[in-house]
């Protein structure tokens, strides 16, 4: 049986499925319990599974993640929410100093099956600190996995995989497209592999790698370009990155463009280019290119249209690359 879900409903159903299947899964964070989350990602869970398994916390991100460490040590699988990625920073000490290190420092004895969910990215005319994309900061941390889905089907399958993963996963949800479209999704639980990119469209002239809320924008841009054959890859997992899919595509096209929302310098795009240089250098017919957010603070609502790559800019960049 399938049901038609948008991205945020897919998050909710993944949690609902896993809580029903596994009594050790607990879901908590600010406004997560009674209200069901400010984006309604956890709606109905407390009513169905009780206050013990889905609950509100005091307003303290470090303790939300820090207590998840203790929960994991004591046999639970916590799925905690950071209300916005812009509020994750008080928890960074817990993530970097403990969540990502515990398995290693105990030589495998105390793994951290924790999922940290956070809506991320701009384009919703939000207040300050509600629009950041800092996935690269976390992808740099050994011991952590960073996943960013873009469709309801992937959201559900990857979130379930993250919950079942014996290692900690930062699960970033592109909030601009939480409700942008719906897709038929199986009602029952299923897991998709973490660490695998998805080829959305095959092509032979240019490879475009993107993720998160820019996936629909890239698809829109490419759909309107009949003269250039573009291969579109949804990266889906930032770390560990699926190098094989990217390298195989570049070996075919000889050209690669990375489109991401995060700031350009030291972003995930730079890592992708480094991988291409290491593994597919002789296939390149043009310098790898990036179309990304600027190295600026994310502008407030009245300036954000300048920050986010648009389908028009994506098209222009693809042409620049194809014509090089």
């Amino acid at each position: 049986m399938t049901n038609k879900l948008n991205n945020v409903q897919a998050v909710q159903q993944a949690l609902q499925n896993e809580m029903a299947l596994d009594p050790t899964v607990v879901v908590y964070g600010e406004d997560v319990g009674y209200e069901g989350g400010v984006f309604r990602a956890t709606v109905g869970l407390q009513q169905e599974f009780g206050e013990g398994r889905s609950f509100d916390t005091p307003l303290a991100e470090s303790a939300i993640v820090g207590t998840a460490v203790g929960m994991a040590i004591n046999g639970m699988k916590p799925v905690v929410e950071m209300q916005f990625m812009g509020f994750i920073y008080p928890a960074v000490n817990q993530i970097v100093s403990h969540v990502s290190r515990y398995r290693n420092r105990t030589r495998g004895e105390r793994p951290m099956p924790i999922v940290i969910r956070a809506p991320y990215g701009g384009g919703i005319r939000a207040l300050e600190h509600h629009s950041e994309s800092t996935e690269a900061m976390f992808a740099h941390i050994p011991g952590l996995k960073v996943v960013i889905p873009s469709t309801p089907y992937d959201t559900k399958g990857l979130l379930i995989a993250a919950i079942r993963d014996p290692d900690p996963v930062l699960f970033l949800e592109p909030k601009r497209i939480y409700r942008a479209f719906k897709q038929e999704v199986p009602e029952e639980a299923y897991a998709l592999p973490i660490g695998k990119a998805k080829i959305l469209q095959e092509g032979s002239d240019v490879t475009v790698v993107t993720w998160g809320s820019l996936v629909p924008d890239v698809q829109k841009a490419v759909a309107a370009m009949e003269d250039i054959s573009v291969e579109v890859i949804d990266l889906r997992t930032i770390s560990p990155m699926d190098r094989e899919t990217i390298v195989a595509s570049v070996e075919k096209t000889g050209r690669i463009l990375i489109v991401h929302e995060a700031a350009k310098s030291f972003g995930a795009g730079a890592e992708i280019i480094a991988v291409v240089n290491e593994k597919a250098f002789l296939s390149l017919e043009a310098p790898p290119m990036r179309l990304t957010g600027f190295d600026t603070i994310f502008p407030l609502a009245r300036g954000e249209k300048h920050y986010l790559p648009t389908p028009e800019r994506i098209q222009a960049k693809i042409r620049e690359l194809a014509d090089y």
Binding site: S62, V69, G70, Q94, H98, R103, N104
Partner: protein, 363 residues
């Protein structure tokens, strides 16, 4: 004693045995057998032997940076002795007395301080967390363990440790706040040893005591003479019992760090001999020794042989690790994820190929 009857706002320090080894509060003397007392004494003695040997090895270049516990033995052993086997110990990094009570083997303790992650590989049955260097961050782990315990309707208690400096951290506040809201079975032990490296207690907080911080969180708090093993045990037992049934407790163990912060620190830079001198009379081991000799639980001529036996045990443990092999390259990579990522595998392979090449060139 009942822990929630103590009012930390009175600013009184709980004591059972004074510096001369005399019981000054017989009503609150914990129920202990002669065997309990001997175990506590031996634990403190062994702790001091480990410290002394580790410091001496460090000066000989045979041990890495080490954080000694000198003077704080009663605060650590007395609190941990209140735990049962299934209760959890959550240390900072200066809790040797607790480690010994919980059962971290001496060999592994030394292995950790001598630079091997295998030191923190305990066996999952040992309900002890590894050393936590980022100050007070582990308080939240203690609370999370307790949240899971409550969720499963179990009744194990978690005892977590930090120092006076740790109370300045945001994580200290967040942990105590969460614990009180969820009524977790947590006993927070603050070893107030008067210094956070060089910064004295008065510069950490304007609060008159650390114990009174409990009041605002909505939990019992108690200030106790941390160099009095019987006071520590009485308070800890009451706190553990209260935590098991009700919710968290904050204990301020008032003590003094007789040694350096670590072997990299020189305390003469920030305190004088005159500062340290009065604390020598409050020594927790000598105090219990006086009591035991008076009660004929210990003879003076038994002390040296006991120390010598511990020295032998600790040196044997040290020798077993001193010449053991270094960490293997594979081990550095193996434990980051359940399954090694392709990225890690590549890096390992490349480095191994280099090592093998270098080895071949040597031949």
């Amino acid at each position: 004693m009942q822990i929630d009857k103590f009012n930390p706002l009175d600013n009184k320090m709980f004591q059972v045995m004074n510096e001369k080894g005399e019981i000054v509060d017989a009503d609150n003397m914990p129920d202990v057998t002669d065997e309990d007392i001997l175990t506590l004494y031996k634990t403190m003695r062994k702790s001091r032997v480990i410290d002394t040997i580790a410091l001496s090895l460090q000066r000989q270049g045979r041990m890495l940076t080490y954080a000694p516990n000198l003077g704080q033995e009663a605060a650590q052993a007395g609190s941990a002795y209140a735990l049962r086997k299934t209760d959890w110990g959550v240390p900072a990094f200066r809790e040797l007395g607790m480690w010994l009570i919980k059962g971290w083997p001496v060999e592994k303790i030394l292995k950790y301080w001598y630079g091997s992650e295998w030191g923190s590989h305990f066996g999952e049955d040992l309900r002890l967390l590894p050393v936590s260097v980022p100050i007070a961050s582990h308080f939240q782990h203690a609370v999370g363990i307790g949240m899971a315990t409550r969720l499963r309707n179990e009744d194990d208690v978690v005892m977590a440790y930090t120092g006076d400096g740790g109370t300045s951290q945001g994580d200290f506040h967040e942990a105590l706040n969460f614990a009180a809201v969820y009524k977790t079975p947590t006993v927070f032990v603050v070893q107030n040893n008067q210094f956070a490296i060089s910064v004295p207690r008065a510069k950490q907080t304007a609060s008159e005591t650390l114990a009174i911080k409990a009041v605002a969180y909505g939990m019992p708090g108690i200030l106790v003479d941390g160099n009095d093993i019987f006071a520590m045990l009485a308070v800890s037992r009451a706190a553990v019992e209260y935590a098991r049934e009700n919710g968290p407790v904050l204990i301020e163990a008032f003590t003094y760090r007789m040694g350096a912060h670590t072997t990299s620190d020189d305390p003469t830079k920030y305190r004088t001999d005159e500062d340290v001198e009065p604390w020598k009379d409050k020594d927790p081991i000598l105090r219990l020794e006086k009591y035991m000799i008076e009660k004929k639980l210990l003879k003076e001529d038994e002390i040296e042989p006991m120390i010598e036996a511990f020295e032998k045990e600790v040196m044997d443990a040290y020798r077993s690790i001193e010449h053991s092999s270094d960490t293997e390259v594979e081990e550095i990579f193996a434990y980051h994820y359940e399954e090694m990522t392709p990225q890690l595998q590549d890096q390992l392979d490349e480095y191994r190929a280099f090592l093998e090449g270098a080895e071949a060139n040597d031949k």
